[in-house]
């Protein structure tokens, strides 16, 4: 496996790999998300208690789940970059962070829009909401750190270290927030019981979840390609790629 992975330490190979994977990810993602959304928003039954407002679930739940997984992916890339000193992984950290921040913001926004009709308020200091908010702050911290470096290589490694510190801290934050909430408010209105969800609602949800994962993958591939081109702009292979020889060293 090491032999198979090793070529991708070279930025050019990674760039080409991203290009090959991109159509698969984007076509699959679009297909799945259109199917899931149409099924969920039009054909699936309305919730017997929440009515049609519950349909936002088909967007909200995938974004909320994947906001966490995206952070995990960023931290894994950072660990690989730190341990084996692979530059493309540091670039991947920088590529994943903005996508993750947008997904987290979407999860918060759709959650607020769902909370307004259901709980009568845009925001409550519930454990899940709070840890999602802090997750957003941590994404923004990684972004802010990366963008404040002029030397992007240094910035990528610094952002990677911050992502790792964050991922060690995330479970601590999660549990402390949960504990804080139960300490201060007792049983809160926002704790759903795990709904034993009907099949015709579960399927569109799962399809949207997988579809959004592919979309995130596609966005990350795109932004990783951009990141590589931006950092390697002086390399000969980039010059050849853009048909512009005068950029070459």
């Amino acid at each position: 496996m090491w032999k198979w992975l090793h070529p991708y330490a070279k930025t050019e190979q990674t760039y080409l790999l991203c290009g090959r994977l991109l159509p698969w990810f984007s076509v699959l993602g679009l297909l799945l998300i259109v199917t899931g959304s149409v099924w969920g928003l039009v054909f699936s039954p309305a919730d017997y208690q929440q009515g049609d407002s519950a349909r936002i679930m088909y967007i909200h739940v995938p974004t909320a789940i994947l906001s966490m997984s995206t952070y995990a992916a960023m931290a894994i890339a950072a660990v690989i970059g730190l341990v084996w000193q692979i530059r493309t992984c540091d670039m991947a950290v920088a590529a994943i962070a903005p996508v993750g921040a947008v997904i987290t913001a979407l999860a918060l926004f759709t959650g607020a829009a769902w909370g307004k009709p259901m709980w009568g308020t845009w925001w409550v200091w519930d454990a899940r909401l709070t840890s999602e908010l802090i997750l957003l702050f941590m994404y923004l911290g990684v972004l802010a750190l990366y963008s404040s470096f002029d030397d992007k290589q240094k910035g990528g490694r610094a952002a990677g270290l911050l992502a790792i510190v964050g991922v060690i801290n995330l479970p601590i934050i999660h549990f402390s927030v949960e504990w804080w909430n139960t300490l201060h408010q007792g049983a809160s209105i926002t704790k759903f019981d795990k709904p034993s969800i009907a099949n015709e609602m579960l399927w569109p949800l799962l399809i949207n979840l997988v579809g959004l994962a592919f979309i995130i993958g596609a966005l990350v591939l795109l932004s990783l390609r951009n990141e590589i081109l931006r950092r390697e702009i002086k390399r000969p292979w980039v010059g050849k790629l853009t048909g512009e020889q005068n950029n070459a060293i």
Partner: protein, 223 residues
């Protein structure tokens, strides 16, 4: 070698700090000032102040610690001392640890020492004060330790001051929650040993990992 390097580094930093007393006193003044602003903002009712007092003291302590953090490596970065630290035969994490210790003594210990005075401002009971001082003693070293990582990451960035707070404050959320929960428990005379033990666990965890991470951050910043 390791111990003598540690001691020498502490001595140097403490000496430097006491030569620039005004800079050391500023975070302390800031701390007192923020806390005296709150009664003006929310009204002088003793009940309200007692209710929000522990949270105010902790938030103010975090903010004024953020102010002082930059001192930890900034001057050393500017005059090239950090490079000498990297070259020194004493391992870098040990030197970082020495800097953390002296930073805690210089910029955070004074805050803890004046906190009984602030307890009077905020109408805290003596039980609450005990819990507050205990949580500050256990919790603020975590701020210094994680702060070392933050400063290490941002030391080569121009105008890194606000950035440090942006990076660190989300990470320090658990500390704030557990510490204020301990003081809240003391308000109604419940046992708060559990919270204290969690704080101690956080301290041990960051004691083990933070110096190494901060040393790596410094290496990234200096290359």
């Amino acid at each position: 070698m390791v111990v003598s390097g540690f001691v020498a580094q502490c001595q140097r930093d403490l000496l430097l700090a006491f030569r620039q007393r005004s800079e050391v006193l500023q975070p302390l003044l800031f701390f007192v000032l923020i806390i005296s602003l709150f009664p003006l903002g929310v009204g002088p009712g003793p009940q309200i102040l007692q209710k929000i007092g522990p949270g105010i003291v902790w938030v103010a302590a975090l903010l004024s610690a953020m102010l002082g953090l930059e001192r930890m490596f900034r001057d050393d970065f500017n005059d090239g001392y950090l490079e000498q630290m990297l070259l020194s035969p004493t391992p870098l994490p040990v030197l970082v640890m020495a800097k953390v210790v002296s930073h805690w003594i210089v910029s955070i210990l004074p805050l803890i020492i004046v906190s009984p005075l602030l307890a009077l401002f905020l109408n805290l009971t003596s039980g609450m004060l005990q819990a507050l001082v205990l949580t500050l003693l256990l919790g603020t070293p975590v701020v210094s330790l994680l702060g070392a990582i933050g400063v290490g990451l941002t030391v080569s960035v121009q105008r890194g001051g606000v950035l440090i707070s942006l990076l660190l404050l989300p990470i320090l959320v658990p500390l704030l929650i557990v510490a204020t929960a301990a003081v809240d428990a003391a308000t109604v005379q419940l046992p708060y040993q559990g919270q204290i033990l969690i704080l101690a666990a956080l301290l041990l965890l960051s004691l083990a990992l933070a110096p190494v991470a901060a040393a790596y951050a410094l290496k990234v910043s200096l290359e």
